[in-house]
Symmetry: none
Subunit: 198 residues, 4 copies
DNA sequence: TTCTAAGCGAGACGGTACGTCGCGTCTTTTG
DNA sequence: CAAAAGACGCGACGTACCGTCTCGCTTAGAA
């Protein structure tokens, strides 16, 4: 006896749908993205979308999550270099049309729907939070002192992501190399100089 | 010859509409806020709303702007105290239901509509940016050294607002006194320790 | 002391408005005719229209009435010739764009509004009914026998106007000379052959 | 492979909508009939109306067509009796509130919209025109001479319908038995006396 | 092989908000 | 007072998208 009776879902369909969603997100933004259009571009019936996701928001969460997973934390030899690399990647990511369109819309939509917020939090936010943890591990492995106490992990994450979101998505001003360099310097100095204070 | 021909717009109507919008924003959030409901609560015809604003988004921008104007920068005797007071107000403001509902939705909506973004930028963002400038002036007037160079004004604004937005609106985690105190300390230390570096 | 206090109404304005109404009626038809447009074309404020007529319908009644007054009953020497001339004029009149657009719309609108129907009846219908009466008089004056008894006046009017309205306005098929000649022949024969029967 | 893809339209819905439209037409007349009200009374969403008809006018055409199909041409033994029966039915039909409200409004509305006129012509007018043809057939079958030549079919239709429309819908005067009897007599005499003239 | 449960495409459907338009009224200033 | 200008209340319009449903057809594993 099998748990999977009936015709199995085509696994390729999932990726076709998420891909279509990402494209349309980049082209038109959240509010102009239509479930019907996603279905059409994926060559799939609208029913199929709703069979796999509970609604537009959840679909977009998943479509967006994959994009954020592109963030990597390579070892650049020093904490400052590692942090700067991540910030640079984050800035580039947020400037992309699809992320641009999706992130704030999802955050906004999450406001009313706790289930959606939970999904958004676990699949997008928490998945990136580990970068802080891994940064700490890398620094320790290198024998470098990580100036931030474990209790500050939350805050350093808020400050990095928040500042970039505010700059790029809300205020919509450009982020150049000088800005990033300065930002990382201020950040590390702030935590380093107050290392034992928390 | 008069510049004001025909029946003048009732100036009280504007405030009635904005007030109704703020109420409904707090009660129901952005997507459940209806133009028809705003009109009804303001005791006004739906047409009147569209005669004064081009759509839901523009109306909410103006309704939200007034809320942000509540931020004040009183002189608490020291830079640290001043900054902490502002951050505390900002955190409280962002936690309010109406702001909560409106801010991200507006930022998201601004993505597609440049005119809306411009209105959002000038009536909400820029109006708060002056707090940084006035903080610098107050510190100088007290004979206190403001650790941030003028070119950092943008960044300090991004960091303060961004971190709070990320923490409260996106990640939706609470901001307590300890968090604020620590955040201000890190911030000032970061800029202070790197004062001549920019 | 005068009976007319204040600024007197400009009598030329009436004709300007009615003219504008007729033009727009011909160009756009009843439902696309707007009070605001009539006012604009007449170079007059909307208020002025409503000061002189109670609404769109009443204005159009008066605008239309003048057109129908163009119908004349000249003496062509014989009853058949007289009737044919009137029918020909009527057909031409109904084929004009302004009449075309107005007449059925007014009749339809009159259905719900007794006051409007009364105005329509007296200013449009009854004013044309006298043509039948005058036809009878002309025939008598020529010493010709009018085959229709006085009690048939209503019916002959209904048949003439009704047939043309049905043909031109409702069914929208062309009325050529042959049709008119045949129609008049049938009509006169019908009444003539049954002259004493009523 | 099937010709009917997707969920089929509920055929009962059509009739529910048309019925609701007819009721509201009778109760309120053309201009007070609302698409929203029709939908509500039919227990259907407004969208469904617009999915099946292009607008209020087209819906009313179809609702009205069914009413006109009630006209029957039974064999009463003689041409005069047959014609009189039809005229009597037509008079009764035009006096009904729903027909009353709809017919002129439709004719008027058709003026601007050729597509609507075409629909009106084919579904209402032409469907009744066959009564003339069938009257001719019945008379011939009885061995009776039909006094009207085939080329007169149009005109006899125009005269019958037009006269009744003018009398009942436009002039709004009552049609009693005497009027009908006299009208049929005049009509048949007119065509009969001029049978070979056309 | 046949049965059966599910996947799937297509599109109807209920619902709700949108933004627009026109009517007729009201409220100003100007002549 | 008339008139011009335009704000205003009202209410219908037709559209758009959401998410659900109901069809007929397809696809496999189970009987």
């Amino acid at each position: 006896m099998s748990l999977t009776r009936g015709r199995p879902r085509d696994p390729a369909t999932d990726e076709a749908i998420l891909g279509a969603a990402r494209q349309l997100l980049a082209e038109r933004g959240w509010s102009e993205l239509t479930m019907a259009d996603v279905a059409a571009r994926a060559g799939v019936a609208k029913t199929t979308l709703y069979r796999r996701w509970h609604g537009k928001a959840e679909l977009v969460v998943d479509a967006t999550a994959a994009v954020f997973d592109r963030l990597t934390l390579d070892d650049h030899g020093s904490l400052a270099a590692d942090v700067e690399a991540v910030v640079r990647q984050l800035a580039a990511l947020l400037a992309q049309p699809d992320t641009h369109a999706a992130l704030l819309a999802l955050a906004a939509e999450s406001g009313r729907d706790p289930a959606l917020h939970e999904r958004f939090r676990t699949t997008v936010i928490e998945r990136q939070f580990c970068l802080v943890r891994r940064g700490r591990e890398n620094a320790t492995a290198r024998g470098e002192a990580f100036p931030v106490s474990p209790t500050d992990d939350d805050m350093i994450f808020d400050m990095v992501v928040g500042t970039m979101v505010q700059r790029i998505l809300i205020h919509r001003r450009p982020v150049d190399d000088a800005y990033i360099t300065r930002f990382v310097a201020v950040l590390l100095a702030g935590f380093g100089a107050t290392a034992g204070t928390a």
